[in-house]
């Protein structure tokens, strides 16, 4: 038996969603070494794609003068499914986390194929992750924030998504190395996100039963920091530079969003309806060992995240 937790990822092209998944997948093992939980790609495609992606990212991350604009991001709708297993009890049932990477363009282009289907799927996701392009939000006084992060559109999507269930809304600032060098700075960044998405948060928290809102910054590369915007005639390029020559690719806090997903799922198992009824049954039954491992994992913060009330 397999349980699937759906996470809808929303954010502009190039915000770093795919990079996040690639880093998360490889870094998760390091931070969960002490636990008996492993996160593994469910299928070979995801595994190959993300491995290659990570290798490219690592290569770029070692540069001082970044000559490439970045890695071409996802243009089409993609799903990457990971399985959570207990290493000692790998047989039988397990929990899947399915990240649905909604293409950035789709957010602004209503003529995308299968739109109705996508919208339906989006609405049914219990967890929504908003990827935020941090340079766009902060640099040059947020000059490109509205253009890239489209906070109003995001607000509308979230508004549609709201139900009277206690879902999870995650705001994940990516490419934030320049502003969140350490955990202290990262917490300040969370404050900035809270302020910039104030409208959205207000709408969400205004409901009697509202989703939990968490802000969880991630350094997807670690070794590159924002340098400047290069504004040419009709394109804007975000320029990065290395912290020092031949610095190592060193993503940070990439596992924290996964931990938050797990923690949320565990909290929701108290509920007796739908998916979480099934989850409760599973974890109290054959998934008992996994339950203990996840419990342990979910209590240990893997990055500077902040919950908003």
């Amino acid at each position: 038996m397999t349980l699937t937790i759906d996470v809808a990822m929303i954010g502009p092209s190039g915000a770093g969603k795919t990079s996040l998944l690639a880093s998360m997948y490889s870094e998760f093992a390091k931070v969960t070494a002490a636990t008996k939980v492993v996160l593994a790609p469910k299928d070979a495609t995801t595994s190959v794609e993300l491995s290659r992606y990570r290798a490219e990212l690592a290569a770029i991350g070692r540069q001082l003068v970044v000559r490439e604009v970045g890695i071409a991001g996802t243009r089409a709708f993609r799903q990457h499914t990971f399985s959570l297993r207990d290493v000692d009890h790998d047989k039988g049932s397990h929990i899947d986390i399915r990240f649905s990477d909604y293409p950035g363009g789709w957010l602004t282009d209503p003529h995308t194929a299968h739109q109705a289907e996508l919208e339906k799927m989006l609405k049914s996701s219990d967890i929504m992750m908003i990827a935020i392009d941090t340079p766009a939000m902060i640099a040059e006084d947020g000059r490109f924030h509205h253009e890239l992060n489209a906070p109003q559109l995001v607000r509308d999507i979230v508004q549609d998504w709201l139900t009277d269930q206690r879902r999870l809304l995650m705001l994940v600032p990516l490419k934030c190395e320049a502003w969140a060098g350490d955990e202290g700075a990262a917490r300040e960044l969370c404050g900035v996100v809270q302020k910039e998405y104030n409208d959205l948060i207000a709408i969400v928290t205004a409901r009697d039963t509202h989703p939990a809102v968490v802000i969880s910054p991630v350094q997807t590369v670690g070794s590159l920091i924002f340098d400047s915007f290069q504004v040419d005639d009709d394109t804007t390029i975000t320029r990065f530079r290395g912290r020092k020559p031949r610095d190592q690719f060193d993503p940070k806090w990439t596992a924290e969003p996964v931990r938050l997903v797990i923690a949320h799922a565990l909290r929701r198992q108290q509920s007796s309806r739908g998916l979480f009824k099934v989850l409760t049954d599973y974890l109290t039954g054959e998934g008992h060992h996994l339950r203990i491992a996840l419990d342990k994992l979910s209590k240990q913060a893997l990055g500077p995240s902040m919950e908003v009330d």
């Binding site: 001082l64 340098d227 400047s228 915007f229």
Partner: protein
């Protein structure tokens, strides 16, 4: 082309030039008449104007008088040249003192007899100018002097002898005799004069008589001073000239020979008469001389004669238009003296085209030398004529250039003709208020426009910034890795090389931005152009300044300085604005430099950490990354903070300008003074209505218009229209 064809061609060209000159002459006379008219009308036209107007009228009359004098001289010169070019023949003059064989020479040349061209061998002496032309038969016509010409001829004698002015012919009487022991030269002059006066009684009827055709055999009676028996003859004194036709030894046409009277040593009247004839009727001249076989040499009278002829033929040197002809006689034989004369002529102050030798009594020798003279004349005439015409036209054109000064004086009088009338004062006040108001509205409107747009980005500057940033990104001046290696080796270490590379990169980057100065200038230049246009158009100041933009503003400031003096806020405002600039150093440099700090080796963006094994490639990458970072910072500063700065600076400049020239204390009265002073140039058309019912001003306007038309026409004919002296 044979000689006859060449003669005809020269004459044809002369005829064309004469026609052209006739038009020029007519134009010049029209201009002269209209200047006279202008001077005549100026005073009464100026009577309604103020002191300035009357002063201008006085100036105009003075200038007009001076210009008319110059014009008269040029017109006379032009008329003479016209007469000369209208002459149907090329003309050779023959001149020589008495008994040089001149008449013999002419007899040999023309085939005329001693009766027809008397010579002094028979005791005759020619007293009259004869013009001899080739013709089928021998014929002669005598022209007589008018009374005025006769009196003019006596005038030098009256003057020399202290007899006062010459009375009318009917009142001329014999003067009292001189004391017997007096000056012999005066006595000689008295004798000459009495000869004229005594002859008057019997010959008075000839004065002013029509030309008379005569029997050529009787010619000597009209032109010689004594008859064959030595008895004095007087008719020559009343003859102006004689025209003779004769079949020349060699057939030709289009040629005339002018036989000029021999020079009596004391006969004062001969010289000016002869010179007048030489100047207008002779193209080349032959000076005849017959050396005496014994003890003769070039004498002072020879040189004096040469000098006088030279004076009478201005414009061309005698070396181009004179010949000496030495008369070689067989009896007595003067061959050796002739040779000596020919050899020494060049050492005397008597430059000529050639020294010829001929026996005047030998027709073939005469014809040979005359051919030489004619050949020279035909080949030189064309260029000599062209030069003379050109010289006359140029002198006339330069007089016309001076005449143009009358145009501005004329306009000043027209413009100020109504100054002293009460209507003029109130009209000036009204017009000034209007212009000032329009100017103020235009300036305030522009200022408001700038105020609203002062935070707007400067579009041309934005384009320039994009271009400069793109250029700085494309051209980083980054050394190759090998060059970095070499530098490290030369500088003796990586840190020193790193410092030098940072310095070089900083300087390279800074240089890119200097080129923004052009874009800064553009916005200021456009502002100046706009303001100049407002002042010119709305403030009606077009006529006071030249050029455009800053140049126009400076020009206006200078002109207003005349009226307002040097301590004028209006003038200052114009001068300061015209000189205002936004420079890279003053405006941009201090903003850019701090952003390049990361490229400073003392505080680099990438400090070298101890113990790290940096490679040359690392160093190069650190410099390049720092360069990119600094460029990004400057780019952002320029785009975000700087783009509206020029708009703000331009607004500030214009606001201060408007404060100075409109709002400062005394500005209004300065403008009033300026408009009053220049009102005639600013509103030239306004004053016409005020003088429309004044007849004298109407006449004046007509005179000015007439004058301008004539002058323009005359200048157009000379091809100098619109030329300013």
């Amino acid at each position: 082309m044979d000689r006859q064809e060449r003669i005809d061609k020269v004459l044809g060209k002369r005829s064309e030039a004469a026609n052209q000159l006739a038009q020029v002459l007519q134009n010049a006379r029209s201009v002269r008449e209209s200047i006279v008219e202008l001077a005549r009308e100026a005073v009464s036209a100026a009577s309604h104007g103020g002191a300035d107007t009357q002063f201008a009228a006085g100036q105009l009359r003075e200038s007009a008088a001076e210009v008319v004098n110059s014009l008269d001289a040029e017109i006379a010169r032009c008329a003479r040249l016209h007469a000369r070019l209208s002459r149907p023949t090329l003309s050779v003059g023959a001149v020589g003192r008495a008994r040089t064989g001149k008449s013999r020479y002419l007899q040999s040349l023309t085939g005329l007899s001693r009766q027809q061209i008397p010579d002094s061998d028979g005791g005759f002496c020619t007293g009259v100018t004869s013009v001899i032309r080739p013709g089928p038969t021998i014929a002669a016509t005598v022209s007589f002097r008018t009374e005025a010409e006769f009196r003019a001829m006596l005038e030098p004698y009256y003057t020399e002898l202290g007899l006062g002015p010459v009375p009318p012919v009917s009142g001329i009487v014999r003067p009292m005799a001189l004391p017997p022991d007096g000056d012999p030269q005066r006595a000689e002059k008295w004798r000459h004069l009495v000869g004229y006066i005594d002859a008057l009684e019997s010959h008075r009827h000839l004065l002013g008589a029509p030309p008379r055709s005569i029997d050529p055999a009787e010619l000597s009676l009209w032109v010689t001073q004594t008859d064959g028996n030595g008895a004095p003859l007087s008719a020559h004194r009343f003859v102006d000239k004689v025209d003779i036709t004769a079949p020349f030894a060699s057939a030709m046409s289009g040629i005339s020979v002018v036989d000029l009277p021999g020079m009596g040593d004391t006969n004062l009247t001969d010289i000016p008469r002869m010179l007048a004839a030489v100047q207008d009727d002779v193209d080349v001249v032959i000076l005849l001389r017959r050396p005496d076989p014994v003890g003769d040499d070039w004498m002072a009278p020879d040189i004096e004669l040469y000098r006088r002829i030279s004076d009478a033929l201005p414009g061309f040197p005698m070396s181009q238009r004179a010949f000496i002809l030495l008369n070689k006689t067989r009896e007595p034989d003067n061959a050796r003296r002739v040779e000596a004369f020919a050899n020494t002529a060049a050492s005397r102050p008597m430059a000529v085209a050639d020294v010829l030798i001929a026996d005047a009594s030998d027709p073939s020798e005469v014809a040979r030398t005359f051919d030489i003279v004619l050949d020279h004349l035909v080949s030189a005439a064309e260029s000599m004529d062209a030069e003379l015409v050109d010289s006359v036209m140029q002198s006339l054109a330069s007089v016309f250039d001076r005449v143009t000064s009358l145009v501005s004086l004329g306009h000043e009088i027209t413009g100020t003709a109504a100054d002293a009338t009460p209507q003029a004062a109130s009209r000036t006040v009204a017009l000034t208020a209007q212009a000032r108001e329009a100017m103020a509205v235009a300036l305030e409107t522009y200022l408001e426009l700038l105020r609203r747009a002062r935070h707007d980005p400067d579009e041309p500057l934005g384009d320039a910034i994009r271009a400069v940033v793109a250029a700085a990104r494309a051209d980083k001046g980054m050394p190759t890795a090998e060059a970095v290696d070499a530098l490290i080796a030369v500088r003796g270490g990586l840190p020193i090389a790193y410092g030098q590379l940072l310095n070089e990169a900083r300087s390279h980057l800074a240089r890119h931005f200097v080129s923004l100065e052009g874009a800064l200038e553009t916005s200021v230049r456009e502002m100046k152009e706009r303001l100049a246009l407002s002042l010119a158009k709305d403030g009606r100041l077009t006529a006071l300044a030249n050029g455009s933009g800053a140049e126009w503003l400076v020009s206006l400031a200078n002109e207003l300085g005349v009226a307002l003096g040097s301590k004028s806020t209006v003038r200052d405002g114009l001068t300061i604005l015209a000189g205002a600039k936004l420079t890279y150093r003053g405006f941009l440099q201090h903003r850019i430099r701090p952003l390049l700090d990361g490229l400073n080796p003392n505080n680099p963006l990438y400090p070298m950490e101890p113990g790290v094994p940096y490679s040359a490639s690392d160093v190069r990458n650190m410099v390049e990354a720092t360069y990119d970072n600094a460029l990004g910072r400057v780019d952002r500063m320029l785009r975000e903070e700087f783009l509206s700065e020029p708009s703000q600076a331009v607004f500030a400049l214009v606001e201060e300008f408007v404060d100075r020239i409109l709002r400062s204390r005394g500005a209004e009265s300065q403008w009033n003074t300026a408009y009053l002073q220049f009102k005639n140039r600013i509103w030239p058309e306004e004053w016409a209505t005020l003088t429309s019912d004044m007849a004298d001003v109407q006449r004046w306007r007509a005179a000015v218009a007439h004058f301008e038309t004539d002058l323009r026409e005359a200048q157009r004919a000379l091809g100098t229209e619109g030329r300013v002296a």
